[in-house]
């Protein structure tokens, strides 16, 4: 999916003090107010997500109970679902009861396995989280140096290669990347096993052996996105006076690039790592089915095939919540990353 990046954080664009030095000692008391405002701003977003998920089932043409139960349902089953969803109540009461249950951590019960959705999600959490963390580490290790190099040698062949690789990364679907990697590294070269998952508790070696291909697959779009963003942010910063000053006072290029320039380019890069997280969630669903990993993505696919709506609904609420939380943390971290930003 070609991602669209935007600076939509509502933050003031950082202004330069001409020196570009960070000053971590000065913390303003006004920041607490900013923290509180940002945390509160996440509430309506989650409310809209919840409302949307709630209305989706009710607004789909047809009887919600029949939609959930499928074509083969008996009248008894339909009645059971209606009672479980509270469909006999007026719609606003339904919504309030539903939200109240969510607040108490009750996400409903799977129609397929009759287990609580929260239990199902908790069971599948570990593979997905370890895969996600490995992906983010790989992404940052690969894409940030790529972007810095491209900006540093702007217009050169390095730049062209990085930019072409990033367009390719956007355009090749995750599952195609996955199968190409399996074909080359697992089937042809035999470096790693084809599919499956080993928990990190069984040792870091066995975990990496199985997780490295899926993580590379998943990071392909992410790397493309962040390399582009790093390049763009670095290009902006490299034109600043303080970079020239740093060079003029004889600092070596490495220090100029990484200590002065990259640090000042960090805010937009971090923003994109946050917004790109939604891409990764989408990628997880596909990657896990390609590599046969028993995580949240597989849970999603199993739920689709069984039309297990409560599980799908729970997964949407859960992943959207994580997305909002991560972007909230990133917003809050701006204050520490770039002390020039005042609220």
């Amino acid at each position: 999916m070609p991602p669209r990046i935007r600076y939509s954080t509502g933050l003031p664009v950082p202004t330069t003090d001409g020196i570009g030095h960070s000053n971590f000692e000065k913390q303003e008391p006004a920041m607490f107010g900013y923290f509180l405002r940002r945390v509160l701003a996440a509430v309506p977003v989650m409310a809209v997500v919840a409302l949307f998920v709630f209305l989706l089932l009710r607004l789909t043409p047809g009887d919600p109970a029949a939609i959930i139960a499928g074509d083969m349902a008996t009248p008894q089953q339909l009645e059971k679902i209606r009672t479980a969803l509270g469909l006999h109540e007026p719609i606003h009461i339904q919504f309030l009861t539903w939200v109240q249950r969510l607040m108490n951590g009750d996400f409903g019960v799977s129609l397929l396995s009759n287990k609580p959705v929260t239990t199902l999600i908790a069971q599948r959490l570990e593979p997905t989280i370890s895969l996600a963390i490995l992906t983010i580490i790989l992404t940052i290790l690969i894409s940030v140096p790529m972007g810095v190099l491209a900006a540093w040698r702007h217009g050169s062949w390095i730049d062209n290669i990085v930019m072409s690789a990033s367009v390719l990364g956007f355009s090749i679907p995750v599952f195609v990347t996955g199968y190409i990697l399996i074909q080359i590294f697992a089937l042809n070269l035999g470096f790693v096993p084809v599919q499956g998952f080993t928990s990190i508790s069984k040792g870091i070696g066995p975990f990496l052996e199985r997780a490295i291909l899926p993580a590379l697959t998943l990071s392909s779009i992410y790397i493309a996105l962040i390399a582009r963003m790093t390049r763009a942010a670095m290009l902006d910063v490299l034109g600043e006076d303080y970079v020239r000053t740093a060079r003029a006072k004889g600092l070596d290029e490495k220090a100029v690039l990484f200590r002065h320039a990259l640090r000042n380019a960090a805010v937009p890069i971090l923003t994109v790592i946050g917004t790109g997280f939604a891409l990764m969630i989408s990628g997880v669903v596909v990657t896990e089915s390609v590599f046969n990993i028993p995580g949240l993505g597989r849970l999603t696919v199993d739920a689709i095939l069984a039309r297990d709506y409560p599980v799908i609904q729970g997964l949407i609420l859960f992943t959207s919540g994580i997305y909002v939380l991560i972007n909230l943390l990133i917003d809050l971290s701006y204050a520490f990353l770039d002390p020039r930003i005042r609220y």
């Binding site: 355009s171 679907p173 195609v176 290009l235 689709i304 709506y309 799908i312 992943t319």
Partner: protein, 296 residues
């Protein structure tokens, strides 16, 4: 040296909506992309003339045959010609891509114009859009398809919903800057009607960025359709689409990888071409972004 990084030149105010397209300014890559896309579009339109076999007709006698003179790319597990199926698959992908781009612009443009113009509406609408954008688009699409059942229309709706907020945000941001312009003030002063101000004075500003955005939506929609079909939540399996072909090929991957690689290759080329054309359109329409390497 990196010190030669050019300062960004302030853009010349352009009054034309669409600058005259200079073909010479286009890079080799975008011309190649244009040709690839043209070939795919023509293939989709003339699919019945190009495909040597019926893409749906099963023939167990020739299952999983390798590529040969009779079957250009071999056959799948049901003995259907892979080449013919890929040719027909272009129809679904292009329909979904173009359809999603048109529908999301048709809904997002008026919403964005209103949000950019009326403050109260803006606050409400933007909260809704923020919420929609927090839902990962694949999961949202999956939820819609699992509720409403497989089918072209369902898939189209499922793909379009998550794209709308992006269009609304884009249009709104353009309107927010444009409405401070003197010509809008002048239009208000001479008593132009509100719909006229919005349509004649504000809307044209959004066209250039919208065209670029629409190409990205088109690429994204084609990709999501393929993913949905691949996961088994797309258009019904009886219709050949690139995602469906790959989904069925998964089981036989170790036996016959070409069932995944050929549709995957065509899909990648298609998306790549649209993205490159989008980049070219952006460079032509908004030269300011060119140097930054794009903020898609």
């Amino acid at each position: 040296m990196a010190t030669s990084v050019e300062r960004r030149v302030e853009p010349v105010i352009r009054r034309r909506i669409l600058p005259v397209v200079e073909v010479r300014g286009l890079g080799f890559a975008s011309i190649l992309a244009g040709i690839c896309l043209l070939v795919i579009v023509l293939t989709g339109i003339f699919a019945p003339l190009i495909a040597p076999y019926d893409p749906i007709q099963m023939n167990p006698a020739v299952r999983l045959k390798p590529a040969s003179d009779t079957f250009l790319l071999g056959t799948d597990a049901y003995g259907r010609d892979l080449f013919s199926r890929i040719v027909y698959g272009a129809r679904i992908s292009l329909t979904v891509g173009i359809g999603a781009a048109i529908i999301s612009v048709a809904i997002g443009l008026p919403l964005g114009l209103l949000a950019g113009f009326f403050r109260i509406l803006d606050a409400i609408l933007m909260r809704i859009m923020d919420g929609l954008m927090a839902i990962p688009s694949i999961l949202l699409a999956i939820a819609v398809v699992s509720l409403a059942g497989a089918g072209l229309w369902t898939v189209l709706v499922a793909i379009t919903i998550p794209e709308i907020p992006r269009v609304v945000r884009l249009v709104r941001s353009v309107v927010l800057t444009a409405r401070e312009e003197p010509y809008v003030e002048a239009a208000i002063a001479v008593g132009s009607s509100l719909p006229k101000i919005m349509w004649r004075h504000l809307m044209p500003n959004t066209l250039a960025p919208l065209i670029v955005q629409a190409t990205y939506i088109c690429a994204s929609a084609i990709l999501i359709e393929a993913i949905l079909s691949f996961l088994g939540a797309g258009i019904g399996t009886e219709t050949p689409s690139w995602g469906n072909i790959m989904s069925e090929g998964r089981v036989y991957f170790q036996l016959k990888p070409s069932l995944i690689f050929w549709p995957g290759l065509v899909l990648s080329i298609c998306i790549l071409s649209i993205n490159l054309l989008g980049d070219a359109a952006r460079d032509l329409l908004d030269p300011r972004l060119k140097q930054r390497g794009g903020l898609k």
